[in-house]
């Protein structure tokens, strides 16, 4: 796991309140990853990486790997 992935995982654990969250987390398999906390995650990521996510981009980040892919494309 690279530094980016570690940081994102940490933010997701914090945001969703799930300490055991792993890199295969997705909106489907993580109960507390609901629509509101999805936005909270987006907001946290924007602040942590100092970038702006468009609503369409936020909608695409439905699992951990897509979050990483989106961030990599923006950083």
């Amino acid at each position: 796991m690279n530094a980016l992935e570690e940081k994102v995982l940490e933010i997701m654990r914090e945001t969703f309140g799930v300490e055991a969250l792993t890199t295969d987390a997705s909106q489907k398999n993580c109960e507390s990853w609901d629509s509101l906390r999805h936005l909270a995650l987006a907001s946290e990521l924007e602040d942590a990486f100092d970038l702006e996510l468009e609503p369409e981009e936020i909608a695409e980040m439905t699992d951990f790997s897509r979050v990483i892919a989106m961030l990599e494309s923006k950083l």
């Binding site: 309140g17 507390s32 609901d34 629509s35 509101l36 906390r37 936005l39 909270a40 907001s43 924007e46 602040d47 609503p55 936020i58």
Partner: protein, 530 residues
């Protein structure tokens, strides 16, 4: 503990995602009787139509009352005050909206005084920390109906947990003050009555503000007491002779000015005032005295004291928020004298207007006289259909008929009325039919009854007369047609100075008047002809 939250926007990111139960947006149909406590956290919605928005805000009061009436009045009910996060000033006049928000907040403050379980939280205390453009994040609002910027969630949670702590804290009743370097600058025994720093320039000025603020605290029910190592005779002399002294002997409910230790004095004060040590706050500039009281009387609150005089006012604010604010709003046993004083003030305010004109002037009324156009034509037609009481001829017109009259060369004006309590909108109209080049006939004149009683009808018609005169008309004719409902207008034209030329068998009165002089208008109307 189960908390049920009434809300009209998404507030989960600020309060809690899972630990609370949320109402639907602006839904009061479910009140969740099992909850241990309730929170009412509404936001001012975004709506460019401020009049409509004001009406919506006004509806919150009734909803809140309804909810409260159906809930166990032993359970805590926390209400956030309303803050307009996005003040849109389309017209430049937002009086109605500002008033509606203020009315809601005043209502909540009143409820918190009347009902022990209702506490109100001043939301502006949080929002005022931020620039306006920080408060809303439109992207997140539009995606999730979260009006307050979710980026402020962490800050909000920190603030909110402090508020929750305050809400659960036992209120304090008494503030015990040291004197030297606490209530004034310097040491009385060394500097003398006129040598202590109080009044005048800095640092004396800082103590003046401080004493005035403490005086307000005492006026609102907080007991002030003195605990000081001093010669009592010196202090009494200072109270009597130092002209800058704001707080004097009579403002303190109990005093201990002696050379005994402060712990003994504090115990005595508590006994004399018949209050618990746990409702006392001890202020002293000396860290040694503070530490002693802290150690020996752990029930007493002992905040650090600012070491610079300019720190006193922020310190006062802190005291207020930390120990006494809740006391102030929930205080039910404020002394009768205080209540009498407040009532006397209110009565004085009411009787400030010794005459009707003064009252009218205070209303800050604006009248806009607007020629009929495609925008206001539906409203004009509607008024002719609905208005019965202040309607001189009660002629009913539909939109097409109004349009036809305009095409025939009639002049039709409507009037929009605002005052400091709100915008009444288009509430009057007049139809003028040209008889010849010099004469106009008033076919229709009506005003909505909700604006009557303020002389507006007179201002309206006189403004129209002045307009006609400016445009070269020299005579105006009118008719009053009696109905079962419009008797209040039977002598209106007489009062306007017109001459009754004839009365028909059915009671119709025909009037005429030359347009020679300009009509004077009262200066309490701000009249615009558009």
């Amino acid at each position: 503990m189960t908390t049920f939250v009434f809300r009209n926007q998404t507030v989960e990111p600020f309060l809690d995602y899972d630990g609370m139960i949320y109402s639907g947006y602006d839904d009061i149909s479910v009140t969740h009787a099992d909850a241990d406590r309730y929170i009412w956290f509404y936001q001012v919605p975004v709506n460019a139509n401020s009049v409509q928005l004001a009406e919506e805000i006004d509806s919150y009061r009734g909803k809140l009352d309804l909810v409260l009436s159906g809930i166990d009045n032993q359970k805590p009910f926390i209400v956030f005050s309303l803050v307009n996060l996005f003040p849109l000033r389309v017209t430049g006049d937002q009086t109605a909206l500002d008033e509606a928000i203020a009315a809601f907040n005043a209502h909540v403050a009143q409820l918190s005084r009347e009902r022990r379980n209702v506490k109100w939280v001043d939301f502006s205390e949080f929002t005022l920390r931020y620039d306006a453009d920080m408060l809303i994040n439109w992207k997140y609002f539009l995606m999730s109906q979260t009006l307050l910027n979710p980026k402020l969630a962490h800050d909000f949670q920190a603030w909110w947990s402090r508020i929750e702590e305050e809400l659960s804290m036992k209120r304090k009743k008494c503030l015990v003050l040291d004197l030297d370097n606490t209530l004034w600058g310097g040491v009385l025994g060394e500097d003398g009555i006129d040598g202590i720093r109080l009044g005048g320039d800095y640092p004396g000025k800082a103590y003046t503000y401080w004493q005035r603020s403490l005086l307000q605290l005492s006026r609102h029910g907080v007991i002030l007491a003195v605990c000081s190592k001093n010669n009592e005779a010196d202090v009494i002399e200072a109270w009597e002779k130092n002209a800058a002294m704001v707080l004097k002997r009579e403002h303190f409910s109990a005093v201990r000015i002696n050379w005994k230790d402060k712990v003994t004095n504090m115990r005595e004060l508590a006994a004399e005032l018949n209050i618990g040590l746990d409702s006392m706050v001890f202020l002293d500039d000396s860290p040694i005295e503070r530490e002693l009281v802290k150690q020996m009387l752990p029930e007493v609150e002992v905040p650090d004291f600012p070491d610079k005089p300019y720190g006193l006012m922020p310190f006062f604010k802190e005291l207020l928020e930390k120990y006494f604010r809740i006391y102030l709003v929930t205080d039910e046993d404020r002394s009768k004298t205080e209540q009498y004083q407040a009532n006397a003030l209110r009565q004085a305010e009411q009787s400030r207007f010794t005459d009707l004109e003064g009252y009218l002037y205070s209303l800050d009324m604006s009248l806009d006289i607007i020629p009929a156009d495609e925008h206001n034509l539906p409203r004009i037609a509607q008024m002719t259909q609905k208005t019965n009481q202040f309607n001189l001829t009660t002629r009913r017109y539909d939109e097409a008929a109004v349009r036809q009259r305009l095409d025939d060369g009639w002049r039709i004006y409507c009037m929009s009325v605002r005052d400091r309590f709100g915008d009444s909108g288009i509430t009057g109209t007049i139809f003028l039919e040209p008889v010849d080049d010099l004469t106009m006939h008033i076919d229709t004149l009506l005003l909505s009854c909700r604006i009557l009683g303020r002389g507006i009808e007179e201002a309206f018609i006189k403004t129209v007369f002045n307009l006609l005169r400016l445009d070269g008309f020299r005579k105006v004719k009118a008719v009053y047609l009696p109905t079962a409902k419009n008797s209040q207008t039977a002598d209106f034209y007489d009062r306007m100075g017109m001459t009754c030329m004839s009365v028909d068998n059915d009671g119709a009165k025909h009037y005429e008047m030359p347009l020679t002089d300009v009509f004077e208008l009262k200066n309490y109307y701000n009249i615009r002809v558009l």
